[in-house]
Amino acid sequence: MAFTLCAQQEVRLSVRSRWTQTFTVVFAALALAVATSGYVLSGGSGTQDFSRTAASLVELVLLLVPLTSLVFGVMALTPDPGAAQLLYSQPVPRTVVLFGQLAGLCLALLAAQAVGFGAAGLLIFQRAGSDGVFGFLGVVAGSCVLTVVFLAVAATITAGSTSLRRAHHLAVALVVWFAAVVLFDVAALGAASLLRSGAASRLLMVAAIVNPVDAVRTGTLLTVDGTTAFGAASLAFLRMTGGTTGAALTLAASLVVWIVLPLGIAAARVRRADL
């Protein structure tokens, strides 16, 4: 009950926030731009089929969703000191408050993304075949999972703190985003270039699993394109993870760890926090 109340309250706060509204509009605009870009490429004739459009959508999701989840998460989970004292003095476990807030925030962000995906989908499915639906749902699912993962990470960063340290947390969040989205890939490729090819292959494949951003990218593109997604590398990946099911389970396991572990840490921290 208290959980639902907290969630409801957070949804209200989020959807009234200019930030969320702006995100909704920007995300929808970018998704629409990606969906139309196929036409633009070759003189209005569209050389992109669904899988290329989906790949571009995935790229958009990978850049934007972690960033917004982290920033909005930090903003929402660092209330003013007074509000925090009031909130946490209620006869409700702190973890329930935290998880309620996260659920509300998550719902608001997913609603914003649903508008964007829906708008893009309305354009894409004017001309994409029905086999595109499954891939498109894969992209949406990836986006949802990334939202949850990075909200959980935001909770870990901020748990039990107030707006006094908001700037500090925001800085940490940005560093985390940059590391996960850009730095990790560059570092993995750099390290791989120094190793012998066998070890380098294993390193890259493990890297594609352990980073949640890469895990979502790998999983989504494999869903959309099958083994053509990465050419021979797809087969190597599937062989290492034990086939399609194995790959799905491995990627899912990595993402579940990325949700459960940060949430656990956040819960522990918020319980111990001295307000």
């Binding site: 997913l110 989908g121 730095l183 791989a192 790998t218 050419g231």
Partner: protein, 454 residues
């Protein structure tokens, strides 16, 4: 021969290798009396030069054409094969076959080249025939001056390449014409071997292994064809003086797939072609004096693959748009010239406004360098990290200068000119997808609406 096989094996997907040793089957003769079509009596009674009109209806059994006749169907009569060999066997010169629906019953054998229409005669024309369920569609065996036009050939969907033949098979037949045909689900769309001075124009081939599979044939022209959804759009080997104009090579994706593959060919001109959404666009190995001009290469993983065995090739005035990587050079160096092409990924300024960017475009970046040695790097090829690396390296070059660059990269794509457009997307609307999307928008907005209520 072993060396030859080895070389081919290096360039092509594995399955291709199995049937490299193409043997020509024994020539099927007159079918047994029990397997003959009721129309056979009319052919046997005809004299050379006669025209035989066949009314609509179903005729079961094979036909043996041993006189120079014109066999014309009215109302699309159906010829259903005996299931023992080729349905129509042409063993005379100057034969015309027009307007039939032919069902091969999947009969006969690949070793005997069993076909819908098997031609071993000169100056034979086959027009407006629909051929289904036959191992080969039309087989031209030492059939000079043959014309196959307006035919629709459908192989057996789901059969592997080793279990069926090509749509149109041309063997040792000079001056052939293949015009406005449509081939689907065969082993290869057109297989052409030792056949010179031919023309292939206005055909559409899709869902086959190779759209065009081609060897040891010189002086042939390919115009306005579409080769799509195959392991390769066209794979040509050991041939000279070929021309490709206004063809479309589309959606050839999958393992080691390629739009147009040229191996050990000489003097090839490819101009005004549309090469879009292939794993690799152009692929040249052992190519000598090829000229690629005014083509549009788009949405490939790698736009151009060049083996260092190639010599004196030029790429001029092409448009390269939205390819993950512009060039893969296999080997150490190449004398291939890239001059005056447009590259969508290159944004160097053009301060003197002469339409040419102020610095040459190096057709390689640090990511391509990495992935060259490492398949697994492809997992990251579409990631943001790879782009950052590529961009950083353009700004601060760290690799030893790569030999290949476009010396005069254009600032804007050259006019489209004669390059064909993409075919209309026949996938059409997907109402399930549209409904889901609408639901997404509504649900999202509903959350916003609910949240705003007091």
């Amino acid at each position: 021969m072993t060396t030859l096989l080895l070389m081919v094996a290096l360039a092509l997907p594995q399955e291709a290798v199995q049937d490299m040793t193409v043997t020509v089957g024994t020539l099927e003769g007159r079918p047994a009396a029990t397997a003959l079509s009721p129309l056979q009596a009319r052919i046997d009674a005809a004299r050379s030069g006669d025209r035989i009109d066949v009314q609509a209806g179903t005729y079961t059994g094979d036909l043996f054409i041993h006189r120079s006749i014109r066999l014309v169907g009215h109302g699309r009569p159906r010829l259903i094969g005996s299931g023992l060999g080729s349905v129509v066997r042409v063993r005379a010169d100057d034969v015309l076959i027009e307007g039939f629906d032919i069902d091969g019953q999947l009969g006969g054998s690949l070793a005997r080249d069993s076909s819908g229409i098997h031609v071993a005669g000169r100056r034979v024309t086959i027009r407006e025939c629909r051929i289904v369920r036959s191992l080969f569609g039309v087989y031209l065996r030492e059939a000079d001056d043959a014309v196959v036009e307006g035919c629709d050939i459908t192989g057996t969907e789901g059969r592997s390449a080793g279990e069926q033949g090509s749509g149109v098979h041309v063997w040792n037949a000079q001056r052939f014409t293949l015009r406005n045909n449509r081939v689907r689900y065969s082993r290869d769309g057109f297989y052409i071997q030792s056949a010179n001075h031919g023309i292939v124009i206005g055909n559409e081939v899709s869902h086959v292994r190779y759209g065009l599979h081609y060897m040891n044939s010189d002086d042939n022209r390919f115009e306005d064809n579409t080769f799509q959804h195959g392991a390769a759009g066209a794979a040509l080997m050991y041939s000279r003086r070929l021309t490709f104009a206004r063809n479309r090579f589309l959606h050839n994706r999958g393992f080691a797939s390629v739009g147009l593959l040229l191996k050990d060919c000489e003097d090839v001109v490819a101009e005004d072609n549309l090469v879009a959404d292939n794993e690799r666009g152009f692929f040249i190995d052992g190519a000598v004096r090829h000229l690629f001009r005014r083509n549009l290469v788009s949405s490939s993983d790698v736009a151009v693959v060049v083996y260092d065995s190639s010599q004196a090739n030029r790429f001029e005035g092409n448009t390269f748009v939205g390819n993950l990587s512009p060039l893969r050079l296999v080997g150490r160096r190449t004398d291939t010239v890239f001059d005056g092409n447009y590259w969508s990924g290159f944004h160097e300024p053009d301060l003197d406004a002469d339409g040419v960017r102020d610095r040459p475009y190096r057709l390689s970046n640090v990511f391509d360098h990495l992935r060259g040695n490492l398949t697994a790097a492809d997992l990251f090829a579409q990631g943001i990290g790879a782009r950052v690396l590529a961009h950083a390296e353009q700004t601060f070059p760290v690799l030893r200068p790569v030999a290949v660059s476009d010396v005069r990269p254009l600032t804007s794509p050259p006019p489209r000119g004669a390059i064909p457009l993409m075919p209309a997307q026949d996938a059409g609307r997907t109402f399930g997808g549209l409904a889901l999307s609408a639901l997404g928008v509504v649900a999202g907005l509903a959350v916003f609406h609910a949240g705003r209520r007091r």
